[in-house]
């Protein structure tokens, strides 16, 4: 006889529930976006602002797919997080890291200019998303700051959203994206691994430097969003879990 359901041990729960209702809408279609601005964010990061004919409001943290097509019909696609807040109706900002020999990031860094049209599809992903309903600690490394700044901008612009604190990890002060919004802000801690402004410490994010943020997250029952390379994500997640953060409170986004 097959075992009946009530005799089965419950499956362990994965943790964190989704943040975007699956029934929100049907298939998200490709559309033609127009590049309206290209801004040099840092030596390695460029922000491309796109106007979208069809506006599907994202939840901060979600991403889009981008598809480029060559003259002979060859196409390639990649995924990019949205940096702009959901309230920036009709537009999304993508911030792209320059990758040596990168096919799509190379296009954004050397070719894209206002007036160009590219295909995009989104918003996508329902797990790494913050709607403003509960306090959170955000920890990003390099371009991993991108989806987190969307959350921070959302929190700053919409009254009544829960409290956020962003820890942004960069090599030098020149590598800090969105510097006018992130440098010396009370809701942001910038960690410099190679060179810091005078009077500020230099060094990677360690369990020790994370400790006060972890303690605050635990005390205030914050969710934690971690984004960056996989080595960055692990180096942040491990000490947080060791400090007692429940896995149900941890959401990680890796860019690959």
């Amino acid at each position: 006889m097959p075992a009946t359901d009530d005799l089965l041990p419950p499956l362990p729960e994965f943790a964190a529930p989704g943040r975007v209702a699956p029934s929100l809408r049907g298939r998200v279609q490709w559309q033609h976006a127009e590049v309206v601005a290209v801004r040099r964010e840092t030596p390695g990061l460029r922000t491309v602002r796109l106007a979208l004919p069809v506006w599907n409001e994202h939840v901060a943290g979600q991403h889009y797919m981008v598809r480029l097509t060559a003259a002979d019909g060859y196409t390639t696609q990649r995924h990019y997080s949205v940096a702009s807040p959901p309230g920036d109706t009709g537009h999304i900002d993508l911030t792209v890291d320059r990758v040596e020999g990168g096919e799509v990031s190379g296009y954004f860094h050397t070719v894209a200019r206002p007036g160009d049209r590219i295909e995009v599809r989104g918003p996508l992903g329902g797990f790494f998303a913050w709607s403003g309903d509960r306090p959170a600690l955000l920890v990003g490394g390099g371009s991993g700051v991108v989806p987190l700044v969307s959350m921070l901008r959302h929190a700053r612009s919409v009254p009544g959203t829960a409290d956020l604190h962003l820890v942004a990890c960069v090599r030098t002060p020149e590598d800090l994206p969105y510097a006018s919004e992130l440098a010396s802000a009370p809701d942001v801690t910038v960690v410099h691994s190679r060179r810091a402004p005078t009077g500020q410490p230099v060094g990677r994010l360690t369990a020790e430097t994370l400790a006060p943020h972890a303690a605050q997250a635990l005390a205030e029952d914050r969710e934690v969003f971690v984004c960056g390379s996989t080595s960055f994500a692990e180096s942040v997640a491990k000490p947080l879990l060791t400090a007692g953060l429940p896995p149900t409170h941890l959401r990680i986004e890796r860019f690959g």
């Binding site: 003259a71 160009d116 797990f127």
Partner: protein
């Protein structure tokens, strides 16, 4: 599925359209030597000695295997491509493990079992049709390219279902529960497609 897209001004692809590898499903690109890691949770450290694998649900003889018991089953190797929903594929991979058929043979699946909830030691879940796991199409993999699977890639053991997008190939596999209906797993509840066939480009809900 897409119809022809207009060219993007100034974009020159890595190669000509007709040089695209026919082993790449639509929308995928070749990651070559890279093997990206995209899990949504922290990588757990699970010693082989502590790893277990269980099959239960609609089966006549639910069973749990230890590492040594699982490794004592006849080995089976997969050589071929894998495809991630984030658009990269690896065209030549080699995983060694045990065919899921060998495990299922031991538990007497009930005829009413149509679907499976694959679950991980982290609590990650993903749903599959039972037919996608049988007939030599799925493995419990222990080795990648002749080396023990690293923790970041799901070691000591992951599910391998290479004909579907790779989120179905649950890392740190803990068990399969045979059920009588399709129940969405972790990504499927987060708006990913229920089946995830890369050749039909079933990435997200509604595709």
């Amino acid at each position: 599925m897409s119809t022809a897209s207009p060219p993007t001004r100034g974009f020159v692809g890595r190669h000509a359209a007709d040089a695209r590898d026919p082993r790449l499903p639509p929308g995928q690109y070749d990651a070559h030597d890279a093997f990206p890691v995209l899990s949504a949770e922290a990588t757990p450290e699970i010693a082989a000695a502590d790893w277990t694998f269980r099959i239960d649900g609609l089966v006549g003889a639910p069973r749990t295997w230890t590492w040594d018991e699982a490794r004592a089953l006849p080995p089976s190797t997969y050589e071929g491509p894998i495809h991630c929903v984030t658009s990269w594929s690896k065209l030549a991979t080699r995983f060694t493990g045990v065919s899921v058929d060998s495990f299922l043979d031991a538990v007497q699946p009930h005829p009413s079992a149509t679907h499976v909830v694959a679950h991980s030691h982290t609590g990650y879940t993903t749903n599959l049709a039972l037919a996608d796991l049988t007939g030599g199409k799925a493995w419990i993999a222990f080795d990648y390219e002749g080396e023990p699977l690293t923790a970041a890639h799901g070691g000591p053991a992951r599910l391998l279902v290479p004909h579907l997008y790779f989120w179905k190939s649950a890392k740190w596999i803990a068990g399969l529960r045979l059920v009588g209906a399709d129940e969405p797993g972790f990504w499927e509840r987060n708006r990913y497609h229920h089946r995830g066939d890369p050749w039909a480009e079933e990435r997200y809900a509604g595709d």
